[in-house]
Subunit: 331 residues, 2 copies
Amino acid sequence: MEKMTIKDIAKLVGVSTATVSNYLNGNLTKMSPVTQRKIAEMIRNTNYVPSSVARGLATNDNKTIGVSVADITNPFTSTVLSGIYEECGKHGYRVLFTNASSDASRETDNISKLQNQQVSGLIIDPVEGDSPIFKTITNRDAVMIDRQASQIKVDTVVTDNFESVKRFVSKMLDEEYDTLYYVSWPLKNVSTRWNRYNGFLEATGYTSGTHYLSVHNTGDTSEFVDQLTEIMEDNVGKKVGFFTMNGRVLIRLLAAMEFLGLEYPIDYGVGSYEDLDWMSIMKPGISCIHQDSYAIGTKAVEILLDKLNSKTEAEPRLIEVPTTEKIRASY
Amino acid sequence: MEKMTIKDIAKLVGVSTATVSNYLNGNLTKMSPVTQRKIAEMIRNTNYVPSSVARGLATNDNKTIGVSVADITNPFTSTVLSGIYEECGKHGYRVLFTNASSDASRETDNISKLQNQQVSGLIIDPVEGDSPIFKTITNRDAVMIDRQASQIKVDTVVTDNFESVKRFVSKMLDEEYDTLYYVSWPLKNVSTRWNRYNGFLEATGYTSGTHYLSVHNTGDTSEFVDQLTEIMEDNVGKKVGFFTMNGRVLIRLLAAMEFLGLEYPIDYGVGSYEDLDWMSIMKPGISCIHQDSYAIGTKAVEILLDKLNSKTEAEPRLIEVPTTEKIRASY
DNA sequence: CTGTTAGCGCATTCAG
DNA sequence: CTGAATGCGCTAACAG
């Protein structure tokens, strides 16, 4: 059973390759119903499948969208990817996957490679808000997700960071905390971290730069523990709470607190962005903000394919996907 | 700046396309050093990048490996994928991603699509141990990971399931448990679940079919809670322990126990397969088996590319990646 | 309604 | 050491 080509089935049916090609592309008006039927049957019998590679060469559009993610290991990201894949499948697109492992230079590399593979479109989950490579992408064939560039040059799909944190932290405030802290990876140039921080500031009224605590995602957390110690000492007798900007940061906080012999919700209160499965079985459960990662993926694809089909370049938009709250008992 | 082709740079340099092609493919002996230099320079100046699509058509090998995963949302799987991507990149292969969302028919679909996209090779993380589509894949261009087929027809890379569970459970036994239970998703035809169960049986000496508890990964867990209740009632005054076959199952168990008002390690002991970041911050920390998911990914790619390059079909092998133990205080 | 033909960008003989 | 010619599988005018 050799690999069939369009020529083979044309010969078998007794028509030209052009006719078969037309059939494959749905130009049914260009041939008689009999021919259609004969071609259809022959294709079924031979299990013929057109070569997407050849088609890609001929049409200069190989129906694949390239995805660059910052870190596939992040549970948020894998859910987004599943959304992307699902939506692409619905529209007959494949997905070419790349992962930067949180390394900006890897990302640059990945994106330029994707561009050179002549993908139809690009979906980028950026490592940081800025990168020279971003200058090379256009709003005609790309969309960004999760994190927004400092300058929005292409459509960007993010979760509702600012407002949802503002709302959530306001609720924490209702519990009469004396003081609240925002805990995050180093803010750097990452929009999600900043937007959540700003939502936090808006709710609390604190001034920027204060009530902010950063952890490094690398091994050593002694510095972080020291800062925490100081904060807790400064606030003896007061009610102090923390808002962590994602699940992994929350883990750092909890580990550090455990190390200090402190327990929530007694010694401190805590709430977090991101809703991970294990948060519900903590004792007590972690109150958090649930984001619809899957929808971010599907939405991004929808927008992208829309653009690809209507070759008109529009103004870049910022789409915010709403969140929900899971109130449990951690604060 | 139009898209350059091999013809363009051939013309610019003043040689034929064949020479440029030879240069691109490292056949440097076929041209003078001067020509090499001129071509090299021209390529640099024009930012020329050969079209992988065209090359794919011409060579009938488009340097992409297709990946079919059972569920990208599984933390295990995303780490594996990152390993796959990394190793592929090192060897100049791209990765075409597909996800079955734990649906066997989606998987069949995905794999047959990948086959029709003329990928160079296939890596499959199967939904179940058996599927008609597996008959269509050969050991020349595919490897399976994580779960093994009931009949090993292609090289398969898995974690050391049986032995590591056997060892781990033996240690639990040293703590003088009166009785131990294995908790799992329904065993079905999934090798990882069975192999871990068999390791459990080997260590405990129980007979197959006993001391086994299954949870469904769908919403309702009332049945599971009932079984648990019964077990705990049957064993009042005795020391009872549980081994969960992965992190998500552990979560179900913990949630159910919480519902019953029971606490580890007091009312029961627990250990688990899989080492997830949150397990260390549970109180007390969860003792578990740590598997090297990343290595599974890289290993799979290594084996696959090996096969692709040495077109000789060998006997399918089963490769087991070793695990390590994280002993904390949950039993 | 159907067939001819010329590419798409590159690799690969085979001559020179 | 170099180039002309041919083909990979398919699409897209353009004729008929």
